[in-house]
């Protein structure tokens, strides 16, 4: 509960301006808090009179807290491949491990995974824990969660990282709940606090309108998921050495209640562009269907999907499900990059509520620049390849 000391309160309103949730306001001559309060403590920090404090029951603390050491990454195997996010996690995992001067391990459940061990070590892992069995070829929530939970209980890592993927989003919250650990989803930044070695997890909230930095002071491990393409993989170093351990899988660990009846792979045209956070769209300015190869590349770099204006679809360069606009879909992604699109109102109505609009067009009078957050006036065939190059450089 937020406790307000009415004697100390001078009704200065600092708390009201510091509250991101509109939960505290000055009424008459004292601050009053309502049900929107999330106990984040921002007002407490900002009160010049120390009139506010957060009171709460004692927090639970883990019994064998000190015994937890090491960074662990949960890697994903599906249909014969390792998900690229696993290497990205090893990239950030290596940095965190070096900072903490601890080892970096990676857990990989799957059908046939032994061949990937060397690549994982080259990517930064000191220890590779393989859970290999035909029963693990298909992703089953209970099996993967059970294995990860067992490995965590045995090896006691202080930090566990996983991808915010379809697999990660099911398994990790289940495991976190099971072992009473704190979990922060979709982190965009992970750092170690100097003073106490605590993992600081930063993530967006309220659709990205706010950033929050989160810690787990009383529980171990500290768990975090990270979206693909947010972190950078390290440059693979084949000379690195590491340990490969095959996890013993007792029959109880392979007992599942989930039957996998079928598995279906989508093609690109079934992607729902309305569900994606980043869209790169191509228009008449591409001049030909080949231009979409460039669009796809940029989209891939940003982990986004491909969209198009009506002109591009009518010209047969890309199928209709990608069309944005009056006679296509309405989208509101975080980032919309319009390449070679004039921005006539029929297109604009389909995308103008995007958070950030980037326009790339060689015509400086194109209407798209009226609604763009950022505009580049130039030939997209020069701009986009350079943009892709710069984005790749940043990842390194």
């Amino acid at each position: 509960m937020l406790i307000i000391d009415s004697e100390k309160c001078t009704a200065c309103g600092m708390c009201e301006s510091s509250c991101a949730f509109g939960a505290i306001s000055v009424q008459a001559d004292c601050a009053v808090v309502n049900d929107s309060c999330t106990l984040c403590g921002a007002c407490v920090d900002n009160c010049p009179e120390n009139a506010l404090r957060v009171e709460t029951a004692d927090k639970r603390t883990q019994a064998d807290f000190g015994a937890y050491a090491g960074i662990m990454v949960f890697a994903e195997y599906r249909h014969g491949k390792i998900a690229p996010v696993s290497y990205e996690l090893l990239g950030i995992g290596r940095k965190l491990a070096d900072k903490r001067r601890v080892h970096l391990s990676v857990v990989l459940p799957g059908g046939t995974v032994a061949a990937f061990a060397d690549g994982l070590i080259a990517a930064g892992a000191d220890i590779v824990l393989l859970a290999e069995h035909p029963m693990l070829e298909q992703f089953r929530e209970d099996l993967y969660a059970g294995i990860l939970e067992q490995v965590i209980r045995e090896r006691k890592p202080e930090v566990v990282l996983a991808g915010a993927t379809a697999i990660g989003r099911s398994v990790i919250p289940y495991v976190a709940t099971s072992i009473d650990a704190g979990l922060t989803a979709d982190c965009t930044r992970l750092e170690i606090r100097e003073e106490d070695g605590m993992l600081l997890q930063t993530r967006p909230a309220f659709g990205g309108n706010i950033m929050a930095t989160i810690e787990c002071p009383h529980t171990r491990p500290q768990m975090a998921t990270v979206r693909p393409k947010v972190m950078a993989p390290a440059e693979p170093d084949p000379s690195r050495k590491g340990e490969v351990i095959h996890i013993q899988l007792a029959p109880s660990m392979l007992h599942t209640q989930i039957e996998v009846l079928e598995t279906v792979i989508n093609n690109e045209d079934q992607v729902n562009i309305q569900e994606v956070e980043t869209l790169v769209a191509g228009g008449r300015g591409l001049d030909s269907a080949k231009g979409f190869a460039l669009i796809r590349e940029l989209a891939g770099e940003l982990n986004g999907a491909v969209a198009a204006s009506r002109a591009a679809v009518d010209s047969g360069w890309i199928p209709y499900p990608h069309q944005v606009g009056q006679t296509g879909k309405t989208v509101s992604p975080k980032l919309y990059i319009a390449c070679g699109i004039s921005g006539a109102v029929q297109h604009a109505v389909g995308m103008q509520s995007a958070e950030i609009v980037v326009a790339i067009n060689r015509d400086k009078n194109a209407p798209i620049f009226d609604i763009a957050t950022f505009g580049v006036v130039g030939d997209l065939y020069e701009v986009v390849p350079l943009l892709i190059k710069r984005l790749q450089e940043i990842k390194k």
Partner: protein
Amino acid sequence: MKILVCIKQVPDAKDVRLDPKTNTLAREGVESIMNPYDRHALEEAVAIKEKQGGVVTVITMGPPQAEAVLREAIACGADEGVLISDRAFAGADTWATSYTLAQAVQTLGGFDLILCGKQAIDGDTAQVGPGLACRLRLPFAACIQKTRKVTAQAIEIERMMDDGFDVLRLPLPALMTVVKDINEPRVASLKGKMKAKKAVIQQLSAADIGADPQCIGLAGSPTQVVRVFSPEPRGDRKIFSGSVAEQVDQLVACLKAHL
């Protein structure tokens, strides 16, 4: 069949904007709505009830005003609503929330199927559904895009994956979280709205669900917010100039600040 749907009242995230002058969320005129993913979960539950027979119960953990979404759910076909509310729940993270919901589910008892929306549009974590499945020891699957078959013993569903989907069969009781592709929610009917008006909403406090004070609210939350800050302020629109290389560099710098 006894079906439970977990729903949440959230601010309409698309209307929540940052006031650039004060760096706070401008909440003026932002409506409170039923979390859109939960709306789809509710529709699926009602559709299953219409085919299999049974009762749909909706629960929510929230402040007193969250009762409004329970009534909205009844207007859209739920049979009864339960509000889990207590000052002690304030400040709960997903761990404490799933604990609280699990205690409530165990108090109410006997559900064959539990449905949740994939994630809430304010927190965006997608953690409560799987966490709840863990506490209730239920087989579960997340991000379900279609229910193929329901019998008294099992459910056959399509689980969305990053590259397509898998078809699963889970025994009941089970829990699933759903994505928007799963259905088109119906419009609340007049009869439903009348029923919702008259409905008596059961209310449960922390004591009613036997909650351990150390596991709920802020006290029960292993994650804690260290600080909250605004991302780089949006500022005015910028049309760059200069050579292609210069413009791209400026663009990349601006994008980095924003993403």
